[in-house]
């Protein structure tokens, strides 16, 4: 078996989740289902607690049992969440959307372009470039944060939108995924036919390559979106002005102030719930594509 880190693409004999036939009933069924439910309880508990607690005032947060509602006031919490501190939360939410949205769109385009260039063209230094990108996959992003900060302060862009936005545009894993996907899903004949018809290289990329690799495009976009939205270390060290904060950093700053301003306890909880909603949607979307995108590293 030749095992390779590879994105599997449409291969007929593999089992598709839904089409797979049911194995016979066997006695471990009950134990299995019980374990699955216990695990579900573990993974769902913090989310459930968050949803219930977002309806509470700070005093009932501390004074009532955590697993059930007590004087629910969700809308009131929501209103004060968006009003508190001169509408900081709204600003942070917009910033997060800017960093993650623009970053992920840019990163996806750059990664697919590079993946296509590496997969279907030859040029001097191609192997060196690819090796460097692979090495980039193995470097922890948080180990890069401090070097990025040193460089950013050298060129004077610390505490600007650029300092967080630009690093988000680069996804070595995205390039890797795009290259493997293009290699497997895009037949050379298609490109040659287009070239014979006189199509320019950019037209070929936009009209032929992008549509063919759409599952990879969606996967790279969603992964990068989630990873920028969730990134904390980089904005923490780059940004000091509150109005540039993403949600994660803003909520953390509120959380450290909560001992002095107790109302913040309930606002942090409500703010956490609100900030998780778009991510949950992204993750559910991601699941629709996971069989094509996430099989990176599967059996060949």
């Amino acid at each position: 078996m030749s095992a390779e880190l590879t994105a599997t693409v449409e291969r007929p004999p593999r089992r598709v989740e839904r089409a797979r036939q049911a194995p016979r009933q066997y006695p471990q069924g009950l134990i299995r289902t019980t374990i699955l439910f216990l695990l579900a309880a573990y993974f769902a508990l913090p989310m459930y607690w968050l949803a219930v607690s977002s309806t509470k005032s700070t005093s009932s947060l501390f004074g009532s049992g955590g697993l059930w509602f007590s004087h629910p006031q969700f809308w009131q919490n929501l209103a004060s969440l968006f009003r508190y501190d001169d509408r900081s939360y709204l600003q942070w939410a917009l910033n997060s959307i800017l960093y993650a949205g623009v970053g992920a769109i840019g990163a996806t385009l750059l990664a697919v372009m590079a993946g296509y260039g590496l997969a279907k063209h030859d040029f001097p230094g191609r192997n060196l470039v690819f090796s460097l990108i692979l090495a980039g996959v193995l470097v922890p992003v948080t180990a890069l944060a401090l070097p990025l900060y040193l460089l950013a302060s050298k060129i004077g862009i610390v505490d600007t939108y650029w300092s967080v936005l630009v690093p988000g545009l680069v996804s070595p894993f995205g390039v890797y995924l795009a290259r493997v996907y293009v290699e497997q899903a895009l037949p050379d004949d298609l490109l040659d036919a287009a070239r014979i018809d006189g199509a320019g290289e950019w037209v070929i990329f936009v009209r032929i390559v992008l549509p063919v690799v759409k599952p990879a495009v969606v996967t790279i976009f969603l992964f990068q979106f989630v990873s920028i939205w969730n990134n904390f270390f980089l904005p923490l060290i780059m940004l000091s002005s509150q109005h540039l904060f993403p949600i994660t950093l803003g909520l953390q700053s509120w959380s450290t102030r909560a001992t002095r301003e107790p109302v913040l306890y309930s606002l942090v909880v409500a703010g956490s719930l609100v900030s998780v909603v778009p991510l949950v949607l992204a993750v559910i979307l991601l699941q629709r594509f996971w069989q094509s995108g996430l099989t990176a590293g599967s059996v060949k």
């Binding site: 095992a3 390779e4 880190l5 004999p13 593999r14 089992r15 797979r20 194995p23 471990q28 299995r32 699955l36 695990l39 579900a40 573990y42 993974f43 989310m47 607690w49 607690s53 049992g65 750059l110 372009m113 590079a114 030859d122 040029f123 001097p124 470039v129 996959v137 193995l138 922890p140 948080t142 180990a143 890069l144 401090l146 070097p147 900060y149 040193l150 460089l151 545009l169 680069v170 890797y176 490109l191 290289e201 990329f205 989630v226 904390f232 270390f233 060290i237 953390q252 909880v269 998780v276 991510l279 949950v280 992204a282 993750v283 699941q287 996430l294 099989t295 590293g297 599967s298 059996v299």
Partner: protein, 297 residues
């Protein structure tokens, strides 16, 4: 089609925008950090003259590795990685196998519930778990108390495992999904053949499915190892309620503290470079040792 000549520059043109930004955000910063880590800044005794910088070879690296606090933080990474083997490798494998043996709507329900925490930012996950660890707010602590079990999730002997728990909650479902995707890629007739030969479901899982998804498990292992070195948000958030978490609890936290609290950026740069090298060597070694992954050739 790989063409030289006429199209030679085309491929380079497609790669160039990424390559430029990659150089600007990976190669140059790492190079700059390495350079930075070889220097030392000395402020004048009275603080009247501007601080001076001089080349110090590997003195910062020696300092970092001789600092008991930093050494402890590396030791904690080892413990965390040991905790990750059952929590983020074995558990996800079990979850994927159980899921693979389940049918109907329950399957996609469980898959979604397990994977959802991946979408929750580490800071938010840590904030929520911080509440769940705090006596007086936490229903978990209260329920355990009623059952006569009195645990403090935040004292010096438990807090490391409380951090491991937060990371497990965040990433077990993600790891499971990678392994599960590989399980689905096993051709149906392979499983059917084993079943016809009279293998039990458990035997099929252990002897047929597991060996076939080994590459996916290795991949998960590599990503998990890289993640173990990076832990930062979780201890930073839990620190506000758990004094047992020191300012240099993990290597990343230590570099952060050196740079921004102790104002020793040169030492912090050395620690960041050390971290990147250690994580790179471990993950690369893991891939090489198992002769798998992108570096197989």
């Amino acid at each position: 089609m790989r063409r030289r000549g006429r199209t030679g520059w085309v491929g380079a043109a497609f790669v160039a925008p990424f390559a430029v930004l990659f150089a600007a955000t990976y190669l140059v910063p790492v190079g700059y950090a390495i350079q930075f880590s070889l220097f030392r800044t000395r402020s004048s005794g009275l603080g009247l003259a501007p601080p001076t910088t001089h080349f110090a070879w590997f003195a910062n690296y020696v300092d970092a590795l001789q600092d008991p606090g930093y050494r402890d933080s590396l030791g904690r990474v080892v413990l965390i990685l040991l905790g990750f083997i059952p929590a983020l490798i074995a558990l996800p494998v079990l979850m994927a196998l159980l899921l693979d043996a389940t049918r109907g709507r329950l399957r996609s329900f469980f898959r979604t519930v397990y994977f959802l925490p991946y979408g929750v930012p580490g800071v938010i996950g840590s904030l929520v778990w911080a509440y769940l660890y705090t006596p007086g707010i936490s229903p978990v602590v209260a329920a355990l108390g009623h059952a006569g079990v009195h645990v403090n999730f935040l004292d010096s002997s438990t807090v490391l495992w409380s951090i491991v728990n937060v990371v497990t909650w965040e990433f077990a479902g993600y790891n499971m999904l990678i392994i599960y995707a590989a399980l689905l890629a096993i051709p149906a007739d392979v499983i059917e053949a084993a079943r016809v030969d009279g293998a039990s479901e458990r035997q099929i899982a252990m002897r047929v499915k597991l060996p076939l998804v080994r590459p996916a498990i290795v991949l998960v292992g590599v990503f998990t190892a890289i993640g173990g070195f990076q832990i930062f948000a979780e201890p930073l958030v839990l620190r506000t309620i758990a004094p047992a978490i020191t300012a240099n609890y993990t290597p990343n936290l230590s570099a952060y503290t050196e740079a921004f609290a102790n104002n020793n950026t040169n030492l912090a740069a050395a620690e960041a470079v050390l971290l990147a090298v250690l994580a790179f060597v471990l993950s690369f070694g893991l891939m090489r040792a198992t002769r798998q992954g992108a570096f197989a050739r």
